[in-house]
Amino acid sequence: MEKLLKVEGVSAKVNDKEILKGLNLEIGKGETHIIMGPNGAGKSTLANVILNNPTYQKTSGKIFFDGKDITDEKVDEIAKSGIFMSFQTPEEIAGVSVFNFLRTAKGKIDGKNVNYFDFKEELEKNAKALKMKADMINRDLNVGFSGGEKKKDEILQMLTLKPKLAILDETDSGLDVDAIRTVSKGIQMFKNDENAVLIITHSTKILQALKVDFVHILVDGKIVYTGDGSLAKEIEENGYKRFEVGV
């Protein structure tokens, strides 16, 4: 079966520093993937490169999504084709409410007008499930949100936009146990047989309630090892030493 996402030999640099060095990754429908790795290995770079963030320059390789070459596609086109990325530190956009923002984005992604009442009902339902305060969706996007509120807002956006592939970049960092549980629940609500999730993380707490298919170890710009869900636990206990030596 055609894979949903294929990353083929991608190298990329930021400010003339090479971060990714020929990285390969494949993700199929219905799968949950984890990427772990030491700081500075290139985990966040990978997420940004898939979305074609102009700050990052790809020097070689190709990226395919749903059978289409998206290597040089514009960011919004990639989003419309069904990839969602949650940010480690989401931008604060003053003067634009979460509700209006998401309704606009939803219209863009679905390519049609969004019914106000249906949309509002679903958004409020999802916000409630994520234990977000009721006034949250009327506040300016991420402005003055706490770290936890920002992360929940990212998950809310994922649930609303319903991508085919969600890339969650350190969504669990800096959260307390309750918040991690809520975020994890959000991911479960989202996940089905037709979509896929790629979680970039340091810790395994968020993974406890999720069924993980693959764990990739990213060291120095490359995936050096791929295993099943049990690998995450080993990493948490022993760190990356074993894999770094291997490089």
């Binding site: 979305l51 963030n53 700050t55 969602f84 990325m85 634009v96 606009t104 984005a105």
Partner: protein, 466 residues
């Protein structure tokens, strides 16, 4: 990242011309004869003619300002100072001549009156063609009429206040204003009367190579409250038009006045307007100002906080596009103890436009315990435009809290990327951020006007951000 275009304010909506039909159009230029003729057309009492002639004398003596935008293209010999439309003032829209009524219909004024205004005045060129106010307000003693009627019907109160807030010699263009003023509104809100719905005056300049010099005089008596909205627009002509209006506001002890302006003059207009409020003890004046149109604007509303605990807030936005030089800001004088002011200004410049924030905050020795906070933000949308911040802060007493913060810069690339990952195109992302930037100001307007403003920032956003 490729450069994107944020659209200029779409002026086409306002750019419909009627034929230059008038009952009378004054010869171009400025002279004693012309001033006397305007006065005699209006059958004014002698004391008004005297003010006009004295103002003319001052105008001729004063120099053009040496600072700010270049006004050298203004030639008074090319401007007709008085254009009388073919109608008297009416109190019913049905009685206003079809062509003029049609203009205000297109601008949505009668509909707005019907839906959410307590009263409306409409000026076409130099004269007010329509004025009306809700019956129940009349019964409470509220006066809302045009200036000619005020001089005739309320001579004592009018004379007591006229020129007392903005004196003839304040600057060259105010002297010009007093020499040839015509049209505008007079409002008196009696003690304790609080208007729930706003009054609105709309100014339309249709005649080419002419000037509009309306005078607005508002008195909010003790404990009374009023919201006043003014709107301005004009079709675009090739030659310069001039707007030199004057607004005098008096807010008595414990009174409240909110004065909102949406200005969208055409881009051949020189807008040299003067607005000032005298704020007494425990009273408050709030200014909300949106400047979109005109070729050159020099507009600095002022609050004089004369009584103890007087307050003022200024919220302003200007959007300078191609060929525009918008020099705007605010002035406040703290004269009494425990007065406070809050100033919040934003500007957007693009496509070669120049946006300047110019201000004066003056806290004088008597104003102990006063507070003032200023924030101003300039957003540059390209590298051929300009954004300048020129604030003067004068503090003459130690017992104050004063702070001023300003920023200038562009939209961050990170914010654009974030929005694009949610499916917005780069244009949409920028437009959304610009609207968000303007939002703290647009939300100060009544909802109908916020919608109007969003249309003004016609950013071709297909969604329904608002």
């Amino acid at each position: 990242m490729p450069k994107t275009k944020v659209e200029d304010v779409n002026q086409n909506f306002y750019d419909f011309k009627n034929a230059d039909n008038f009952e009378f159009k004054m010869d171009k230029g400025l002279s004693e004869e012309i001033v006397r003729e305007i006065s005699s057309k209006k059958n004014e009492p002698d004391w008004v003619i005297e003010i006009r002639l004295k103002a003319l004398e001052i105008y001729q003596k004063l120099e053009l300002p040496v600072w700010g935008p270049d006004l050298s293209e203004l030639n008074m010999d090319e401007i007709s100072t008085y254009v009388k439309p073919k109608t008297e003032m009416k109190e019913k829209w049905e009685d206003v001549p079809e062509e003029i009524k049609d203009t205000f219909d297109k601008l949505g004024i009668p509909k707005a009156e019907h839906e959410y205004l307590a009263g409306v005045g409409a000026q076409y060129d130099s004269e007010v063609v329509y004025h009306s106010i809700k019956e129940e307000l009349l019964k409470q003693g509220v006066i809302y009429t045009d200036i000619d009627s005020a001089i005739r019907d309320y001579p004592e109160i009018f004379r007591e206040y006229f020129t007392k807030c903005v004196p003839l010699s304040e600057h060259k263009f105010i002297a010009l204003h007093y020499a040839v003023f015509s049209g505008g509104s007079f409002v008196y809100v009696p003690k304790g009367v609080k208007l729930e719905m706003p009054l609105q005056s709309y100014f339309r300049l249709n005649s080419p190579e002419s000037g509009q010099f309306e005078h607005t005089l508002i008195i909010v008596d003790e404990g009374a409250s009023l919201q006043f909205i003014e709107g301005c627009s004009a079709p675009k002509y090739n030659k310069v038009n001039l707007h030199a209006g004057c607004v005098e506001l008096f807010v008595k002890e414990g009174g409240y006045l909110r004065y909102s302006t949406i200005e969208n003059w055409s881009k051949n207009m020189l807008n040299l307007n003067t607005k000032k409020a005298i704020v007494e003890k425990d009273a408050q004046v709030d200014w909300v100002s949106g400047s979109f149109g005109s070729k050159i604007s020099m507009l600095y509303p002022m609050s004089v906080l004369k009584g103890e605990n007087a307050k003022t807030e200024y919220t302003g936005i200007s959007f300078a596009g191609k060929g525009q030089n918008l020099d705007t800001g605010f002035k406040v004088a703290h004269l009494a103890p425990n007065t406070s002011s809050v100033i919040n200004s934003r500007s957007i410049s693009k496509n070669g436009g120049i946006a300047t924030y110019r201000s004066l905050v003056s806290i004088l020795p008597n104003a102990t315990g006063s507070k003032c906070s200023v924030t101003c933000d300039g957003l540059m949308l390209d590298d051929i435009s300009r954004s300048d911040t020129i604030p003067v802060n004068n503090v003459e007493t130690c017992d104050v809290e004063f702070s001023h913060e300003a920023k200038v810069g562009k939209i961050s690339d990170e914010a654009i990327f974030y929005l694009m990952t949610r499916g917005l195109s780069e244009e949409d992302a920028k437009a959304m951020i610009v609207r968000g930037f303007a939002n703290p100001i647009s939300k100060e307007f009544p909802i109908e006007y916020a919608v109007e403003m969003n249309r003004l920032i016609n950013l071709e956003l297909e969604g329904s951000i608002g």
